[in-house]
């Protein structure tokens, strides 16, 4: 077990260290996402009834677009330093590489969410310290990262990768966005856990299934 985890933790440690030093992912991503929801909140200002209904959609729109920018970046450090080649020449499994990258993607996007949620709460005057809201957000982010890691690795080698990633990624991530948006709307409007359990189930199954598929198919998207 320890030997299985070692490469995963090594990749995570390396990504974090690189991010702390280069600040290429989290800072621009937070900036972009916050500006997006800021603009939306400005446009919806004055109609509090409307904005309450659309608040979580706006949060997720900001997060989705910011997240895509992040996904483009996640593998660009590997590309620049030929880290993927170094990894595949080592004895690490592709599954281990996938899990390592998945965890660091998930961590980065969660940090972004962590910063965005308070901003969102302030702008839309919403109580954000609800456990369920955070649970939904984390599950959504996990599903987002599970698919995103695979597509990010795939588009790394494509022509015009910056355009191809959203084209491939957005249709696939629609269920996650629908589930996250409608369940968090429910929660914000005072719904209880029992009302959103079906969404949580959907998200959990989605996450589990796509992590499995991602772990299996990762070798095919990284082979040259």
């Amino acid at each position: 077990m320890k030997s299985f985890l070692q490469p995963i933790m090594a990749i995570l440690w390396k990504d974090l260290l690189t991010e702390i030093r280069s600040k290429e992912i989290i800072t621009p991503l937070v900036g972009f996402s916050v500006v997006t929801i800021l603009i939306f909140s400005m446009l919806f200002s004055g109609s509090s009834q409307l904005s309450n209904k659309f608040a979580s959609s706006i949060l997720w729109i900001g997060f989705t677009f910011g997240g895509i920018l992040g996904l483009i970046k996640i593998f660009s450090s590997e590309k620049e330093n030929n880290g993927m080649a170094g990894l595949s020449s080592s004895s690490a499994n592709t599954e281990q590489i996938y899990f390592g990258k998945l965890i660091s993607t998930f961590l980065f996007l969660s940090i972004v969410e962590l910063i965005m949620l308070p901003v969102f709460g302030i702008l839309f005057n919403i109580q954000i310290f609800i456990l369920e809201l955070w649970l939904i957000t984390l599950l959504g982010t996990l599903g987002f990262s599970a698919i995103g890691t695979t597509f990010s690795a795939m588009t790394m080698n494509l022509r015009s990768k910056d355009i191809m990633l959203p084209i491939l990624f957005l249709p696939i991530v629609i269920p996650v966005i629908i589930a996250a948006v409608s369940s968090s709307t429910e929660i914000i409007n005072g719904g209880s856990l029992s009302e959103i359990h079906i969404w949580l189930e959907l998200l959990v199954v989605f996450d589990a299934l796509f992590i499995l598929i991602g772990a299996w198919t990762f070798r095919f998207v990284t082979e040259e």
């Binding site: 698919i147 695979t150 795939m154 080698n157 494509l158 022509r159 015009s160 191809m164 084209i167 491939l168 957005l170 249709p171 696939i172 629609i174 269920p175 629908i178 589930a179 409608s182 429910e186 079906i198 969404w199 959907l202 989605f206 299934l209 796509f210 598929i213 198919t217 095919f220 998207v221 082979e223 040259e224």
Partner: protein, 210 residues
């Protein structure tokens, strides 16, 4: 062959101008079903391709995706043309149209990925991965849209809500249409498949010459 087809295609609709808009149904439903039927084909062939690396499997998946995209395009357009006279709106976000639209986007993404990825086995592998993920995803899209509709009941205007009101002769008609279109579907896939075979043969010849 193309000429005869052209004549017959023109002849068939003129035969039919007498019907009412309800009859779009007989095109729309088979188109939608068959377009979505391409997903299991893509899924199975892509999985088999990734395991066995047989070019044939990849070609079938490619052909199915292309024909699926064609069928879904027609399903989307006819769906809108049917929805407008029936309910007065061009588009509703009930599960079926949502699924159709998202699937259509996935097929387009699949075809674009094919066009933008490096030639040879690498592009085929990428496409297969997208095919698998897209097929599994379509189930979630449908579920998500369905749950959503349950949460917001005002949106219930799905085409299948009409299903129970079909009388037997209409049902038979629909079945015949489905059968006829599935023959066309199979035929188009085999046609595309043989074209793809020729393409690959040419590629191989090019290698030999270089």
């Amino acid at each position: 062959m193309t000429v005869t087809m052209y004549l017959i295609f023109i002849w068939v609709p003129t035969d039919d101008v007498l019907g009412i808009s309800q009859r779009i149904f007989y095109i729309h439903v088979p188109m939608g079903i068959l377009g979505l039927m391409a997903f299991p084909i893509v899924f199975i062939c892509s999985t088999t391709y990734l395991i066995t690396k047989k070019d044939t499997m990849d070609s079938i998946a490619y052909s199915a995706a292309e024909i699926g995209a064609l069928f879904l395009t027609i399903a989307l357009i006819t769906g809108m043309l049917w929805s407008k006279p029936s309910w007065g709106v061009w588009w509703t976000w009930s599960p079926q149209p949502t699924l159709t639209l998202v699937s259509w986007l996935v097929y387009i993404a699949y075809l674009m990925l094919r066009a933008y990825s490096p030639r040879g086995s690498q592009g085929a592998k990428y496409a297969a991965v997208l095919g698998i993920i897209g097929s599994v995803n379509s189930i979630f899209v449908y579920l998500a849209a369905k749950i959503w509709r349950d949460v917001h009941p005002e949106a219930v205007v799905g085409p299948l809500a009409e299903n129970d009101s079909l009388d037997s002769s209409m049902r038979i008609g629909l079945l015949i249409a489905l059968l006829a279109f599935s023959l066309l579907f199979t035929y188009l896939i085999t046609l595309r498949f043989s074209t793809r075979k020729t393409e690959q043969k040419i590629e191989r010849l090019q290698y030999e010459i270089n």
